[in-house]
């Protein structure tokens, strides 16, 4: 049973949230402030849910404290509107960000996704900016930029796909895996939607630089992102 640490100053919200999560098979620990949360240490927790607005040290500070020693998944909750806080949170190492009032089922879905990914033990979490052949994938702002300094708009599934492919590179990702991660379902052998998505992304990229061909098909193994990746500051 995964153990969740909820750091939230509104006692009622944390009580309701832990009740809700316990009905879904999680074991919850609640702290009312960042100081209390830090006192409980990191050991034994599989995921943190942290409110940004806390008495004393704020949630971002707690997030930094966790990241100093651990890569445990962390979701930030915030009553603030706008991207500035989200980007800041993601840059400080949060894995996800939800605005209040959030839909509890969406929180659950994102928690499950993070826990599954953490279970994969597949290298470091992608963050910041990744460069390849003059292109820049800005993970904080969720944007792709082409070499001629243009923003290339992607749909959300296309963005998820490029993140998955780059995250797995130099290994290929199988069609089934992409189906599970992006469409949250098991693909049947006749289901073409992953292939359609891949060709859509290829077209987007080659629409900007006609010779760009980063996504290779590897027979029986799936798709591979073939480019020299560079972490940008």
């Amino acid at each position: 049973m995964p153990r969740i640490h909820i750091v939230e100053d509104d006692a009622e919200i944390s009580a309701l949230l832990s009740t809700y999560l316990e009905t879904r098979g999680f074991d919850c620990v609640v702290s009312g402030s960042a100081e209390n949360g830090m006192a409980k240490g990191l050991d034994g927790f599989d995921l943190f849910i942290v409110d940004i607005m806390l008495p004393g040290q704020d949630g971002l500070y707690f997030c930094q404290w966790v990241r100093k020693t651990s890569a445990v998944p962390l979701i930030i909750l915030s009553a603030e509107k706008g991207d500035a806080k989200r980007i800041h949170g993601i840059e400080l190492g949060a894995d996800d960000y939800l605005e209040k009032p959030f839909n509890p089922r969406e929180l659950l879905a994102r928690m499950n996704a993070l826990l599954r990914r953490a279970g994969d033990k597949r290298g470091a979490r992608l963050c910041g900016k990744v460069g390849f052949a003059g292109w820049v994938l800005d993970l904080s702002n969720q944007k792709l930029h082409s070499p001629n300094d243009m923003h290339v708009p992607l749909s959300s599934t296309e963005y998820q796909l490029i993140v998955e492919l780059i995250g797995a590179s130099p290994d290929p990702v199988s069609r089934e895996e992409i189906g599970r991660r992006i469409f949250h379902m098991e693909l049947g052998p006749e289901d073409r939607r992953v292939d359609i998505l891949v060709s859509r992304l290829r077209k987007k990229i080659s629409g900007v630089v006609a010779s760009a061909d980063f996504i290779k098909t590897v027979r029986n193994r799936g798709y591979l992102f073939a480019a020299e990746l560079r972490k940008l500051s």
Partner: protein, 480 residues
């Protein structure tokens, strides 16, 4: 030079109430001086002509007495306006501008010359026209004709026995301005004065013009501005500041309310999730979705201009394509009509293989702006179309070199003609169906975002459904 100018400016009265009378007085004085001078000069000339015309008798007497007493040389004297001198023979040659003529006085004929310093203006006026005029009439005519030349002149009459009679009329035959010169110079000075007045008037109006034209930034009117203009400027600044403070207060109040609602709504969301009865839970969720929509919408509308977002160059067609893909991925009926692509294939020759030459028309619809905000604007327009029309058709059109157009069309009932200009007001629902859920914040937010991109929304009722046209500037200035 500059220092002198600014000293001069400080000498000017500062208030409009003083400047206007000053302008009127200066204009009046200038007009009076010009017209007074012209009238005076013209009057002097015409009275000289009059006198010349009536003094033929005096001139006749001079000639008669001189011709009647041969041998008495030299002799001087005056009669009326005339001064004469009688010499024996010409002391010196006459000036080169001399008009000779034969003066017929009754039975006598005199060889006569009229000598001028300059070439005379009207030489033909000196000859007689009336054949049988009396001597004094002829002399009056001659005297007037000489006066009309408007310059210093002397009448030389050759008498018998080599005597010569010189006649001058210092008051009548003198250098003076001609009629035309007076009229012309009067008109020119008048025009100059008028334009100076116009300049001053424009200068008086300029600060107000400046106040009316300025936008946003509170630049001071120039240093020539009158006190009143400065006061009006200050007042406008003050009102604008007051307006911003009020606006800010209201926005912050609304933001605080929306913000404070987030915690209870979060609790409600969690409580709803714990409800056992599935049907009740669904209904609660629907209500909560609506409440969340209102809170988010209100906060969005209030803060959209202030939300920082980097500006990028991107293809609007690409942005709409990705947005439409998002809708299609979740099974919504949204179609995209992309601008056409022209493809030309170069002919293959024996030297080169046929190469694909793609001539791209402007189908990318490149622009510079804030992609996330625009994405939200268009998704609001599409949501609205889906809500009322069930399906949406999005079309992007390269409109001009500076502007793009995006059409979002639904196939619903459209909006009443009386509602067309009200739909952009927050909390107004255009389709007038009481069953319609949600509030009209989506369109207000979209309109706000387009305004940030130098554009606007336009609504047209089609045969079936509503056509919303979004105009966007390709390059809108950075938002401050």
């Amino acid at each position: 030079m500059n220092a002198a100018l600014s000293r001069l400016v400080t000498l000017l009265p500062q208030t409009l109430a003083q400047r206007l009378p000053l302008l009127v007085i200066v204009a009046y004085l200038a007009g009076a001086v010009i017209s007074g001078w012209s009238v005076y000069v013209l009057y002097k000339r015409s009275s000289a002509l009059n006198e010349a015309e009536t003094s033929g008798e005096s001139l006749g007497e001079i000639i008669r007495s001189a011709s009647g007493q041969p041998g008495q040389v030299p002799g001087t004297g005056s009669n009326g306006p005339y001064v004469f001198k009688r010499l024996a023979g010409l002391p010196e040659a006459l000036s080169e501008h001399t008009i000779p003529l034969i003066l017929e006085l009754g039975d006598e004929r005199f060889r006569t010359a009229i000598s001028f310093a300059q070439p005379p203006r009207l030489p033909q006026a000196l000859r007689s026209e009336a054949v049988s005029a009396s001597p004094s009439a002829r002399l009056s005519e001659l005297s007037k004709a000489i006066a009309r030349q408007d310059q210093d002149a002397q009448l030389v009459i050759f008498l018998r026995e080599n005597d010569v009679l010189f006649v001058r009329a210092p008051r009548l035959w003198q250098d003076r301005l001609s009629q035309t010169t007076v009229a012309l110079s009067g008109a020119i000075v008048f025009a100059l004065g008028l334009s100076a007045c116009l300049l001053l008037a424009v200068n008086l109006a300029a600060p107000f013009q400046h106040l009316a034209n300025r936008r946003g930034s509170s630049r001071r009117p120039g240093r020539f501005a009158s006190t009143e203009a400065l006061l009006v400027g200050d007042k406008i600044d003050h009102l604008a500041e007051q307006f911003h403070i009020e606006q800010d207060k209201k926005s912050r109040g609304l933001a605080a309310i929306s913000h404070d609602l987030r915690t209870p709504v979060t609790r409600l969301r969690l409580r709803t999730e714990l409800l056992k009865d599935a049907e009740v839970r669904t209904r609660f969720e629907a209500d909560l979705d609506e409440v969340t929509g209102i809170i988010d919408g209100a906060l969005d509308l209030l803060s959209i201009g202030a939300q920082a977002e980097e500006r990028f160059r991107f293809s609007l067609a690409g942005l709409l394509e990705s947005l439409v893909s998002d809708y299609q991925d979740v099974g919504k009926k949204v179609e995209l009509v992309a601008p056409g692509e022209i493809e030309l294939r170069s002919a293959s020759s024996i030297f080169t293989a046929s190469a694909d030459v793609m001539v791209r028309s402007d189908n990318q619809c490149l622009m510079t702006g804030q992609p996330d905000k625009l994405r939200r604007a268009f998704s609001n327009l599409i949501d609205n179309a889906l809500k009322y029309g069930g399906r949406a058709v999005v079309e992007v059109v390269p409109f001009t070199n500076d502007a793009l157009k995006v059409n979002v069309r639904d196939f619903g009932p459209g909006i009443g003609p009386d509602q067309l200009d009200r739909v952009l007001l927050p909390f107004v629902r255009g389709h007038g169906s009481p069953a319609g859920r949600g509030v009209g914040l989506g369109l207000s937010i979209a309109s706000e975002i387009l305004a940030l991109h130098g554009g606007h929304l336009e609504f047209t009722n089609m045969e079936t459904g509503l056509l919303v046209t979004a105009h966007i500037a390709r390059e809108s200035g950075p938002i401050d």
